[in-house]
Symmetry: C2
Subunit: 804 residues, 2 copies
């Protein structure tokens, strides 16, 4: 992002200006007025950068002050102004392009730069996702053992390259050595187990410590999933450095470390952050995007789509996720470009082929049997479970995060991570379903049990006479492996539920998608196996009789796992369409959309009944970001007059007058208040509004004028009109500031219902809005006021909204 | 839609009011003012229907006038007002729901009504689509012959039910008789051919004549594809009857007739219209939607998605089509509901199973070979072809439609349809690729040539030694059938291109999707076969050497047909994401997204280079509808002051004053002007704006007051203030009209750049906007003014914008 605090060195370079300039300025003014009268656009509205092109007629006052048009950190951008500036830029390029072939080529390049940025984002995001996947694979396996002679191979790769292994026993090959085998030459037995257990915990602690230290030292913004902040940034907030290069680097590295450490977190949310960092990096290479915060956010929306696209291998789902969940301002052009970026990213990832199966998607599944209407009942039950889990998770997690913020707990982030990692590792190792990486677990839970499946979950008792093809295995009675798996899964489920609440929100990169899906998949698989066994043992029950003949394959437990995963993810994030589409892309068939939709809708309704906020909105509120949600409906009967400042009994609004205040008056006003801007009125008596001046630009303009313009002293009159006011003789030279005056401030009347005001703020992306009655200025409503009013109406603490 | 012209009978029912009421009114006013002072919302802002709930304190003036809140035909709605009215309604229901259990249940029903409407739309749209498909099948075959003993069977169904047919010879069965066989007992020979030819033409003429007559007599709005009008309606325009029950019925029936008649048109666009009619019908059953034009449009957006969903069997594509192409205001809630409606519709259609293959999609295809990078070149060529075809089609079709509108041609719609049908039938019959229905043609062109394919297009010379599995047939040299097919396809292509230009826009239902796709598919298949033969005969060429070994299956001509179809459809409609997603749903694999995207992007770029408008926008402009396209960018340097009325030299703005005009003055003003509303100012001198009064409501209020309120005569003063003005004694009783005053009219300053004004009109859906300077009213900008200004800036005729 553009540096916001380097004003002085630039201003210091300004050359001293001789007094004769003033005569020139006068002459120049007449020329400009003539141009204006001839129908040209008022130059005051033109953005700062635009005047450079106007040739020799430039005067020093018209020269852009440095930093004009940028925003301060933790402030909200003005979307209308950004859009207007972009249109100006576009217009300038279009008119210039007719001048020469070189300019024409430049204009073409400018028009294409959007696509180039998308291509670059897709390539980098896909590459990073691939590298992260490979590194996570390797490091997760490193906790258990190492590949002899080629330590850089993961377990799977090690045994692939080894020739001595057979297909049946893929996981065991002589080159892959567990630590116990390597260190004490023992592969079985209690002491080997304890040694492996100990080293597993040590590696996990080591990874986690490294990660949290890196985050703390180099990039504090790299922690968390990043999605709440990205939502806020896309809605028009400035958080400098949040999408910076350091954050990109550190988040990528630490993401690998924390996922490998076995903590209960996923890489999918952080991948969105990583992709947005890529987007921010590439948009800073093109002035079209780097100089315009509005345009930059279009790129970031597309980058978020690319992030989800590589996280799940679901490009369409990624675009819809960006549209539904993350983005704020999403014009159709962005839709198309997001789609492009998401596709490029997905194909880049596929060509890196980290999953080794040349599939695009993270959890590829193929089911062979349809579902039956009666199954909708357990699917809806899973939806209810998902909704309850979502509510429980959000409440507990927010309570814990609030405690972390307000008590001494927050002062020891490293210790917290170490403790949670230790607890996770100690409890996770003995249970095979928590020891392995969570995505492997989900993959196994989603899987349909084929004939060749060696997993414990597929330990069914086979009919020895079976001669059916591999694809169509009938329901069978569960074997002992399945029963063992059931209680292990139940323990793993409880453990996951508890530990995830404490993990999400620590000072390390942590995503929620995978843990949520794991919780749902475990619950779903257990329900699925239950229904399957019920159907097998009770063919004759009336509900089974119609669809489950003996020897038929009627229940697919893997489908239940998938439905459960969708329900839980939906309960936590409250995604709907994008969730179903992501799941649809995973299975690649429309067949299972109805179960998925039933579960997703139920889960959303159940969760919404306990509270409308998804986890990301809850974290936004917790952090007090000024986020005006598009989904919230404002239905209260208040009017603009109830919300505007000043309230009854407060001091009157701080205003500037158009031609009667001195430089000193203005400076005093600026010093005494901390408002972001001041309305300019005709006079304090009439209070008729003529415009709005930004605080930042006022400060810069006065500073600039004092340094570079002769005759401007504290007593100089500041005027915002076209012509200088009539002054008594010998009064100091007045200072014209019409340039920084916004002549089209947004106004509403005091009788405007707040629902309309909220709508206007949302749709037009305003920072503030002036309130008038019969043309007289009454007050001002800022975005912060709107948010505080909304919080108050929802019986929340209005002071929780912290930024403007 | 609510009836707009039944004012008088209702007004006539009003009871005579005694003079004593006035005393009551005075007392009542004080009570209301107290309530307002206590912080309640200004009752003037409450919508008309809301006051009924306020209990006994109702006075006759506060009673809603009939028709308040409705709009006139061919006028634009005010989105902000509609939204505000819905919030009021919602608020009322929420507060009432706490009163009793019955009210609580009613509020639940109200909350669920959106989903119920979606369900009903999905069911009806799916059913209608299924019925249309079946009827078209039957009637298309009726042109060639009839099923003996069961005339209601189509050719395929007839031979299915017949037991005597074998698999190889599906199309021939004794029960299916061509007309010549039935009438003169001859199935071959010249005279039989001529008889069949003649009857084919007769049936076609008969169907077309019936269709055009039905449309002319019963539902003139049933003609065309309907998408331009639906776009306009969704953007907030009122066209009464366009989505009415008669239109639904007639469009469904005539759609079957015209498609069966063999004209070069499709049923996909009209299906969107049919689905929207269903949406309108069901929304009229629920007061939530029937009384609010804004909410109704949310339902219509979802209905459009359901329409595309059943047209192609692509629910996600349908939702994206609605989002990208049709809808204007698309909140996230609508996204989710559209998805639901689209799914229900798709599944209803599938359970009717009109295609007899239990597939959801219209053209199900499955390809067995991947594509190669080198193939991108022909794909991009197809994209260029699609773009050129799009441009050619739009230009020629618009020119022809304009000629139809402006010359005598437009006076003979029936004759035109008859002539075009005759020409189509005469030329189409001899060529097998134009004789069959267009969707069958596309289906065949998309198809990969399997081993069992009997089509002429698959007449390759087989290697007798071939022992490969059926799925993996290598490239083979083309046989004579393929060469015949090639020139027949070329002739069919030229014919389709020409005839479609003249067909689209006639006074019958006619869609564009299928003819466009057919053009692209024919061109694509020919290119595909060309590339395939080139690759077969020139393995050794450098471009083929890498990916096409002899005996390999490297080129799939069906894929080229699909890419060509996407390119041509994209060129005509300028869809992008939705197009690719629809195609993706047809193939069901991400594999072919890159070719499709390359073609769609190229086609859009090529077509955009010749003109930005798609066919639907072009028809909107041709008809002069007030459609403010979200996609158009306004980049000119004009200000609000350049666009507002009155212009320099024009008569001053017609305004009302707040308390100095008589009833007669107001009536004169209304009579002498035809503006939709009047700004209300403090006085003609100060011109400080206090509000805006709608023409329609002024007329109703004055009429109402004259009839029902004693003492209101022509000399009565009309006042808009809270308190009556001080009047000389013996002056007639004044008329208070504050109720109909909009106290929060939208204002911008005269210096506001037009790009901002356009943005505000678009995003907030305004009808008009007042222009002020320093609190003084200067003028007004209506949506029509904005559109005319945009047309002027684009060097088009501003007078082409006809409605407001």
């Amino acid at each position: 992002m553009p540096a916001g605090s380097k004003t002085d060195p630039l201003l210091a370079k300004a050359k001293p200006i001789s007094a004769s300039v003033i005569t020139y300025l006068r002459r120049k003014k007449t020329l400009r007025e003539r141009a204006f009268a001839a129908g040209e656009r008022n130059p005051n509205m033109v953005n700062a950068g635009d005047m450079n092109g106007s040739g020799n007629l430039m005067d020093f006052l018209d020269e852009p002050f440095p930093d004009v048009g940028t925003y301060e950190d933790f402030h909200t951008i003005d979307w209308l102004r950004e859009k207007s500036r972009d249109t100006d830029r576009h217009r300038k390029i279009t008119s210039k392009s007719k001048e020469s072939i070189w300019e024409f080529i430049k204009s073409l390049l400018d028009a294409w730069s959007g696509w180039v940025v998308m291509l670059l984002i897709g390539l980098l995001a896909g590459t990073l996702a691939g590298v992260i996947d490979l590194a996570v694979d390797w490091m997760t396996d490193l906790k258990e053992g190492v590949c002899l002679f080629a330590f850089w191979y993961s377990h799977e790769q090690c045994c692939w390259t080894s020739n001595e292994t057979t297909f049946d026993d893929r996981d065991k090959c002589p080159r892959w050595q567990k630590w116990s085998e390597l260190l004490v030459s023992q592969s079985e037995g209690a002491s080997a187990y304890i040694l492996n257990y100990f080293l597993y915990i040590m590696w996990a602690l080591c990874f986690a410590f490294l990660a949290v230290s890196l985050v703390r030292v180099f990039a504090p913004y790299a922690c968390g999933s990043g999605i709440p902040e990205i939502k806020t940034i896309l809605s028009g907030f400035i958080i400098r450095g949040y999408l910076g290069k350091w954050t990109l680097l550190i988040k990528t590295v630490t993401l690998v470390l924390v996922v490998s450490s076995g903590l209960s977190l996923g890489k999918e949310g952080p991948l969105v952050h990583v992709a947005c960092c890529c987007g921010n990096f590439f948009s800073s290479l093109f002035s079209k995007y780097s100089k315009n915060e509005g345009k930059r956010r279009e790129v970031l929306s597309a980058a978020a789509a690319a992030g989800v696209s590589v996280a799940f291998g679901a490009p369409i789902g990624g675009v819809l996720f960006s549209l539904e969940e993350v983005s704020y301002y999403f014009p159709l052009k962005t839709l198309w470009r997001s789609f492009f970026a998401a596709l490029v990213a997905a194909f880049t990832l596929r060509s890196i082929n980290p999953f080794g199966n040349s599939r695009l998607v993270l959890f590829y599944v193929e089911y062979h049997t349809p579902w039956y209407m009666a199954e909708l009942f357990p699917f809806i039950l899973l939806g209810v479970f998902g909704g309850l889990w979502g509510t429980l998770f959000i409440r507990c997690n927010i309570a814990w995060c609030r405690r972390r913020k307000t008590t001494r707990l927050g002062k020891y982030p490293v210790l917290e991570v170490i403790v949670i990692t230790a607890i996770t590792a100690v409890i996770a190792y003995p249970n095979p379903y928590t020891r392995r990486s969570t995505s492997e677990l989900i993959s196994e839970l989603f899987n349909d049990c084929g004939a060749l499946e060696s997993s414990q979950l597929c330990d069914y008792i086979n009919d020895p006479n079976m001669t059916r093809p591999v694809d169509d295995i009938p329901d069978r009675p569960a074997g002992p492996g399945v029963y063992t798996a059931m209680w292990q899964l139940a323990l793993a489920l409880v453990f996951k539920i508890v530990i995830t609440i404490f993990t999400f929100g620590m000072k390390i990169p942590s995503g929620l998608f995978i843990p949520s899906m794991a919780v749902g998949a475990m619950a779903g698989r257990m329900v699925g196996i239950g229904v399957e066994q019920l159907a097998y043992h009770h063919h004759d029950w009336i509900i089974f009789r119609n669809w489950c003949r003996p020897g038929a394959d009627c229940v697919t437990p893997g489908l239940y796992a998938m439905v459960g995963a969708a329900a839980c993810l939906g309960g936590v994030t409250r995604m709907t369409v994008s969730l179903v589409v992501i799941m649809f892309e995973l299975t690649g068939g429309l067949e299972y959309i109805v179960p998925l939709m039933a579960a997703a809708v139920t889960s959303k309704w159940v969760a919404d009944a306990f509270g409308k906020e998804g986890i990301y909105e809850a974290h936004i509120h917790l952090n007090g970001y000024p986020f005006l949600d598009v989904k919230d409906e404002f239905t209260h009967r208040t009017l603009a007059t109830d919300v505007m400042r000043p309230r009854r009994g407060e001091a009157p609004l701080s205003v500037l007058t158009q031609d009667s205040m001195t430089v000193e008056d203005v400076e005093t006003l600026i010093k005494e208040t901390d408002y972001n801007g001041f309305p300019v009125v005709v006079s304090k008596d009439s209070e008729r509004l003529i415009g709005f001046a930004q605080r930042r630009e006022l400060i810069l303009a006065i500073k600039n004028a004092r340094q570079r313009q002769d005759g401007v002293v504290s007593n100089s009159i500041v005027y915002f009109t076209e012509d200088p006011p009539e002054l008594p003789p010998n009064s100091p030279h007045p200072l014209k500031l019409r340039r920084i005056l916004n002549l089209s401030p947004f106004t509403v009347t005091d009788h405007t219902p707040m629902e309309t005001v909220v709508d206007i703020f949302r749709k037009l992306g305003l920072r503030q809005c002036l309130v008038t009655r019969s043309g007289r200025l009454l007050g001002i409503i800022t975005k912060k006021d709107v948010l505080r009013h909304m919080a108050q109406m929802a019986n929340q603490d209005p002071e929780s909204i912290m930024f403007n």
